[in-house]
Structures are given as structure tokens and as C-alpha cells.
Symmetry: C2
Subunit: 515 residues, 2 copies
């Protein structure tokens, strides 16, 4: 569809101001809003409903690997952090610190921390839980029989952020963090990569969000990790979003916390540990992968409602028959299964005009919207709008009249198709925005300084420099606002010369602007 | 069963030291442990698994009332609290206060809060969220059409506690908190009582824990509430446990936060709000309701595993056939439904002696334990131990051999019976430990100062005093370490004289020692 000056449901188009468009989707789809608490958001029912879907589906997959859910304290004593120097260095700059445990009146009607209730040892609000979980692992692991120890928790964490953006970077966010302990490096590395693959499959499955799974360069590792892997997704503005990470921590945290086991021969060994997480940031990724100029489009697998039925009520005697027809339709759909679960269908009986309600659901991105009027009911049919293909060639909402039984019979297949089409659309866009023909730093600089609005990613071969040599590369890229995203774990063999070092190239990397 | 000096799985008996017994169950069932962080516990997989069951079942019921889940910030600015004086008064003494957002090295290898990063306005870690949710409601509610507004969140909260006890009273705990706004008192009160009934049915259903639903006396109200209702359960030591509360908040919080709506006539009205919650404390209630001298007994509806199959492996060639038999049995059970959900059955193939593993599961309280040896497999049968009726008259684990197909066919009914029997057992104990024949303060004092170990509750009729008169009653009871638990909402009519005030009695109350 291409109609000049066409008016979409949102006031800002992606092509005009992507950042502003993003904020408008979050607001208009009623996903989240500012809370009045610096850097913290309120997640509203539609946003939280998507998170609940992500939790349910991901939790099942994590449990299927043998991990068990636990819950560890929100607060971490400073002394736990002080044990692991590199970890402190990475996090110490951005943590919320609890120093008092009581408030008292200030005599002027206000409240102040009670000086009498100052904590001897300040507590940090967890930015991540390696240290406190490591202390528990040291208690739980005694012998090789206790390994592997596979734990996971769903929790809130806090990292003090100066510039925040809903879902993408907030002071408090929700996530799952897996923490595992193993007998040796091979097993810990296998776990790290198993979870990386789990995240890849989850992103490309339920989220319909294509990603590159790979290893981060040394300068982008998690503080204290021996190796960090990530899944990286391309947003519609060409920027990269790190959407999940899996870390092989070596014996660093085991040493700090004393996680040791007796091996089969009776010797004492340090465990090798891993940690891995995804967060509410995924929701930001879903928005920037699937949203369009009319709002969000939610992949059916994570849509809180997959089908919404809107009866076109006229506030007259015909309404009862219409509602009965709609309720019968709802019930028929609700007993069906799609994508391995019961179909989630809502009959929206709230008062209000059907067109207003329609556009509210369009902006929320519900996959299938059914508008049912008296004539549909009389004729035994339904009018179906597929959210991901919203308009016909005339620029009108592309409602299609279908016999009710035919729609009910085909609804599951329809939802499965939408899930796949959203993924295919995103994958094609991603693939067509990766340049592989750039082989020098000059070309790279030119590519990103041209006036291209959404320039996408560069894939190139490099020599995997380390230390000062890597820092020099990172600095050059930083000057162009670029970062190395990762080295794909399934990258094809390389040849040629590294554009950064002039040495023989050994592996591929992706270079991009990033969130 | 009554055998002198019989040795149970736990080292401490309920009758000997109930508090110590409780700690031993929590430890031996591997439900939770001290974290090394003051007042905070680590919830281990078996404890957290029970919490996940509670969450899943309760969340479904809460959503069925029309409430939608949201997520609100962990941190609450002091200014939000200062708006509601009575609320501050109730909570100000026990909150964690964040005053800094960065740490720096102290030059001696340690870390200290960075004086440069002091917050202008300290943040409180939420002890409950009325204030921050009220601020959101004020944004969301404009007109009568926006009402009722029904929200819920699952979250962690922090109340600084001096003396903590796992699950029952911890500095950080997990809960759900519902918050609703309504057009008038009648609707808000109906919501308050609807949730009270939901909590009652949930406690007596999935938790198999009998409770009294009723109104708390004025001196026990939530800070800022007009009326507080609770469900109260009797623990095996006769003490009461407040297991859930539902508050009618009047217009107090609406006034503080400005939650106003335009009514049908165009006038501006204050909303009437409610809040209600249950927490991980419920798990403490389950332990003290159903635990016995061999550990926990988990009601089947909230058991992470309802059936555990223990193959009696002999580390010889027969093991493979035995495991195949057990796996087939597991698969047959897993496709069955009990209590409205698929049966949760685990085949425990870990190495180790079957009897050791049996007692570990006994202490965790899994409802049905199957031990399968080579002879069982050959004979097509299973040996079943029902955890809630553990011993035969000879004091041995009461294993019963049953034909495999017969067991599979009857498993759902068996689980349903166990659920009901646990409830009946607890209800009978509760009912037989409520005294209704005490009519004077002297008798009451005598009853509770006699050397009875677990004296239970007193039900009596009183005049519902208020103000100073109520304070005087509370003081007298406090001297006996007693509190008024609640006034049952379905209490029978009363007559006679209030033993506290000498005035005519108007309603019943329960008096008890409490957690």
C-alpha cells in the first residue's frame, strides 16, 4: 500500500523519528508509562501480559534443561561484592545503596532517614546475583554428586541509569537469571552454549525475532566472566539490540565464594560456573522488530489475547442476539488449540464505538480482530482483520467476510501463519540490511557517516585482537558510535586481512550501532 | 500408632518444641535457609515450587474476578509517603531507605557509598504499594466509565524486622497485592468481601487449611484503612496465623493521591479504594497446619510433585528393565488428570539408596511415594506409601502393594482423597481447640495461664468497643500475650454481656496467641 499523506493510527512514523515512534507505541498500546519514580516505569496490563507470556513459555524451556527455580535476597551486603574485584569494577558505578532501616519525622511534617538506624554494613539492591547465589552454592555443593547445580530465579534488579528508555534501559527491570555450577570447564561451557541456543530458539520462535547468536569481544564481557555470549537482534532502525546473554564465568566466582567440591578421587576442586539472563528488554525488542506505523504487532505466541471479538452494538433490541452469537463464537474458539496452547480469545463487550475499540486493539497489536455486526450474525459469518496485514490496496482496513465455521476451523492455522510471517518479514529485513562487502576501515567509516538513515550492520572478518590492540579497535569504532556486537558461533570460514590490524582474519564479527 | 520411643524422621517433635520443630521441617524439607543477609532467606526449589503452585492457582482466581496484573516500581519517593499521615505512622518504623546511587573504593580495598552520589530525595523500598499505585490510578481514572479499576501485582516487598522467622516474618518477602478503585463505598466493600471469600476458598481448597474469615478490630487495622478483614488459621500449637488480609480503604488514599472521577452527572467524586494480599507466609501456614513429626505433608493441589517413583536400583543388569517399567508407569500417570490439572509425577533416577531417597521425599511431604523393585516390576504391581498416613500399626512405613493398572486408574481419586483428608484432619483439630464456654476475663486469664501447652482459641461475645475502651481491652489481652483475631463474618447471633466492658454483647470475636 502506498498512498500519499495516508493517515496512520500513530502520529509519528518510524521513518520520521524512530525514537519518538517507539515512545508513542509504548504509550498508545498502553504497555508502560513513567511512574514518577526516577528511571522506573509502570508496566501496564498489556505490557505485563506480554511479559507473563514470555515468562510462562521461557520458564517451561528453562525447566526442561533441568534447572530449578529458587529465590535469593534482594539485598547484597557490600562485603559480598568486595570479594570479586573485576565484578565490583563493572557494577560499582550504578547501584542503589540502602544505608538506613527507619525513617523519622523531621519536625516539619516531612520524613528523613533516622540517624539512629544507620546500617553498620550498607546493602546494595542486587544489580545481578552472582555473589549472593555463589554464597548459597558454596553451602550446597560438597561433592561431585551435587553437580551440576542448575538454578534460576525470576526477579527484579536495579542498575542506576542516567538515561532511561522504557523496557530498553530502566533503573529497575524484571528478568530471569540462571546460575549453574559444574565440575569442569567443558561442562560449564556446554551449559553456556546450551542456554545461548535456548535463547536463540526462544527469540526466533515465540518472539518471531531473528537473532545472531555469538560471542562478545573481550572488551564487552560481563564483569568477571571468561567468555560472554549474546543474541543480537536488528531493530527496524538498523541498530542492534543485545537481547540475552550467557556467560562462562570460569572459576572466578567459585574462587571468590568458595564453591568447591570433592571429586571422585577425593581431591578438592573449584567449580566452573555460568550465568545467563533475559529481561523485560525483550519487550522493547518485540516492539522495534514488529511495530509499524499503526502501533504494535504482537506475535500470536506471546499475545495476551490472540483474537478479539468486537460486537457492533447498537443499543437496541438486536444487541442480545448479537452478543449471543459472539459469545458462542468465543466459546467455539476457546476450546481450540493453536501453537500448542488453547486459543486466547476475548469478547470485548465494553461500551463504546466499535471503530474506536478496533483502533485501540490495532495499536495494541492483537493478531486477529473480528468485528461482528447484525448482518454477520444473521448470515453466519465473521469479518476478520489480520493486524499484520492491516490495509487493502485502497488504504482501508482489510476486513474479510468469512463463514463462521470456516473461520473457526482455520483459526489455529491462521495464527500459526501470522507467527511465521512476522518472523519471515523480520528476517528478510535483517538479512537485507547486513553489508558484507566492506573490507577497510575507511569504507566502514564512509558507510556510517553517509546520510543513510538506518544503515544496518556490517559483517566483516577480523584477526580477533586482544588487550591494547582490541582497545584501539574499540576506540576507533566508538568515534563512529559503533560497537562490535558478536562473533557468530556458526560463522562461515574466513580469509583475507583484518581491516583493523592488517593481520590475517580468523573469524567474522558484526559491527553496528546499538541500544 | 502409639509406640514408645518411636524414632521419627525429624529429631524434634511438635509436642516437645514446636518452634524448633518448625525450623527443622524448613531445613530438612530443603524449603529455605538463612542467606547471610540479615532477615532475608533463600527459598530453595521445594519451597519455591510450592510458591509457584500457589501463584499459578491464585493468579487464575484473581484474574477470574476481572483484575489485571501490572508491575509498579520497587522504590517509592519519600514524598509519596508523606501524603498519607496514618499510613506513614504505621510503616515508617520499618523501611529500607536508599540514600545513594553509587559506591566508590575507600582506598583500603573496601567500598563505601559515594558522597557525590547522594540522592536528593531518599527512596523507600516498598513495604506495600498503595501510595505508588494510587499515583497511577489518579492518572488512569477520569470518568465513571473507567471504574472499577482492578489491578494486581506479584512482587517482593521489604519491612525491616528485628526478629525474623522463615516464611512467617522475613525482612523481604514475596506476595501479591491487589489494588482496586470504585465509584462508591458499596462497590468497594463488595470487592473487599469478594476477595476475602476468594482467600477463604483458596486457603480451604488448594492449601487444605481451614480458616475463619472476619473483620479485624479497629486497633488491628491496616494503617490508613477504614476496615480490615482477614483469614485466620489455627496452627498445630494452637496459635493463630493471619494468612491474608483485605482492606476497605474508604477515600483516604484516593484523597492523598487525587483519585477522582467524573460521575454520570458531570460532578467530581473521590474513588473508594481497596487493597488485599497474601504472601509467602502462606507456606509457613501450610507447614504448621499439615506438618508432622516426619516432616512436611503437602496438600496434593500445591505439591510440586504429587507422586514420586523410586526405582530400587541394584546397579546390575536388572536395572534397565526396572527403569523401563518405572518410566512407562510415569508416562501413564502423567497423562492423567487430578484436581483439574495433569498429574505431576517424577521418576527419581538419581543414584543413592532407595530408603535414603524415600525419607528425603517423606520429609518434603510428597503425597504418594512409589517404591518399585524388581519383584514389583515382574509382578506388574507398585508399592505405594501415602505420606499423610505414613505408618502401619506396627510402626513401619505402610507400603501397600497394588496392581499397577489399578493404581493408575485410582491415582486421581487417591490424590483428591488426600487433599480432602488433610483438610478434614486440620478442621477437626481446629474445631476441637476452640473454647466457647468462657465468659469472663478471669476465666480467660486462667485458661491461658494454666500449664496447657497448646491452649487454642477462645470464641466469645463482646460489645465491639472503640477508641480508649478498645485500647484498654487490647492492653489487658496483651498482658496475657493475646490478641483479638477477628469477628467472623458469618458468626451466629449473640446474647449476654461483654466480659470486657460489661455492656451487651453485639458480635463474636476470636481471642488467641498469634504469630
Amino acid at each position: 500500500m502506498s498512498i500519499p499523506n495516508f493517515k496512520h493510527a500513530l502520529s509519528v512514523k518510524r521513518a520520521d523519528d524512530f525514537a519518538q515512534w517507539y515512545q508513542e507505541v509504548v504509550a498508545e498500546a498502553e504497555m508502560a508509562e513513567e511512574s514518577g519514580v526516577r528511571g522506573c516505569m509502570v508496566i501496564r496490563p498489556w505490557g505485563y501480559g506480554i511479559w507473563e507470556r514470555i515468562q510462562r513459555l521461557l520458564d517451561d524451556r528453562i525447566k526442561a534443561t533441568g534447572a530449578q527455580n529458587c529465590y535469593f535476597p534482594l539485598f547484597i551486603p557490600l562485603s559480598f561484592f568486595e570479594k570479586e574485584a573485576a565484578h565490583v569494577e563493572g557494577f560499582a558505578k550504578e547501584m542503589a545503596v540502602v544505608t538506613h532501616h527507619r525513617l523519622i519525622g523531621d519536625g516539619k511534617g516531612g520524613l528523613v532517614p533516622d540517624p539512629e538506624a544507620r546500617l553498620e554494613e550498607p546493602l546494595v539492591v542486587r544489580p545481578t546475583s552472582e555473589t549472593v547465589i555463589g554464597a548459597a552454592m558454596a553451602r550446597w555443593v560438597q561433592s561431585w554428586r551435587d553437580l551440576p547445580l542448575l538454578t534460576n530465579q525470576w526477579a527484579n534488579v536495579v542498575r542506576w541509569e542516567m538515561r532511561t528508555r522504557m523496557f530498553l534501559r530502566t533503573t529497575e527491570f524484571l528478568w530471569q537469571e540462571g546460575h549453574t555450577a559444574h565440575a569442569d570447564k567443558a561442562e560449564a561451557m556446554a551449559e553456556t552454549l546450551q542456554i545461548l541456543e535456548l535463547y536463540r530458539a526462544f527469540a526466533e520462535g515465540p518472539l518471531a525475532m531473528p537473532v545472531i547468536a555469538g560471542e562478545k569481544p573481550a572488551n564487552e564481557r560481563f564483569p568477571g566472566a571468561d567468555a560472554t555470549y549474546s543474541i543480537e537482534a536488528m531493530m527496524q532502525d538498523g541498530k542492534a539490540l543485545q537481547a540475552g546473554t550467557s556467560h562462562y564465568l570460569g572459576t572466578t566466582f567459585a574462587e571468590a565464594a568458595g564453591i568447591r567440591y570433592q571429586d571422585r578421587e577425593g581431591g578438592q576442586q573449584l567449580c566452573h560456573t555460568t550465568s545467563w539472563g533475559v529481561s523485560t528488554r525483550l519487550i522493547g525488542g518485540v516492539i522495534m522488530t514488529h511495530g509499524d506505523d499503526d502501533g504494535l504487532r504482537v506475535p500470536p505466541q506471546i499475545a495476551p489475547w490472540q483474537i478479539v471479538i468486537l460486537p457492533m452494538l447498537r443499543e437496541n433490541d438486536g444487541d442480545n442476539a448479537l452478543l449471543e452469537y459472539c459469545e458462542a463464537l468465543r466459546a467455539e474458539l476457546a476450546v481450540r488449540s493453536a501453537l500448542g496452547e488453547p486459543v486466547r480469545v476475548l469478547l470485548d463487550k465494553r461500551p463504546g464505538k466499535a471503530t474506536q475499540k478496533r483502533w485501540a486493539w490495532v495499536k495494541k497489536g492483537v493478531p486477529l480482530i473480528l468485528e461482528i455486526g447484525g448482518r454477520d450474525a444473521d448470515g453466519g459469518q465473521v469479518s476478520v482483520l489480520r493486524r499484520h496485514r492491516l490495509y487493502n490496496e485502497a488504504g482501508k482496513a482489510d476486513f474479510r467476510a468469512i463463514a463462521r465455521q470456516q473461520f473457526v476451523a482455520a483459526a489455529a492455522t491462521e495464527l500459526e501463519c501470522i507467527q511465521r510471517e512476522l518472523f519471515e518479514e523480520a528476517r528478510e529485513r535483517r538479512d537485507s540490511n547486513i553489508r558484507r562487502d566492506i573490507n577497510s576501515l575507511d569504507e566502514l567509516a564512509q558507510f556510517y557517516t553517509e546520510d543513510a538513515k538506518f544503515p544496518g550492520w556490517i559483517e566483516l572478518a577480523w584477526s580477533r585482537p586482544e588487550g591494547a590492540e582490541l582497545d584501539a579497535v574499540a576506540d576507533k569504532l566508538k568515534a563512529l558510535k559503533l560497537t562490535i556486537r558478536n562473533t557468530p558461533i556458526d560463522g562461515a570460514p574466513v580469509e583475507g586481512i583484518c581491516p583493523f590490524t592488517g593481520k590475517p582474519a580468523v573469524e567474522r564479527i558484526y559491527v553496528a550501532r546499538a541500544y
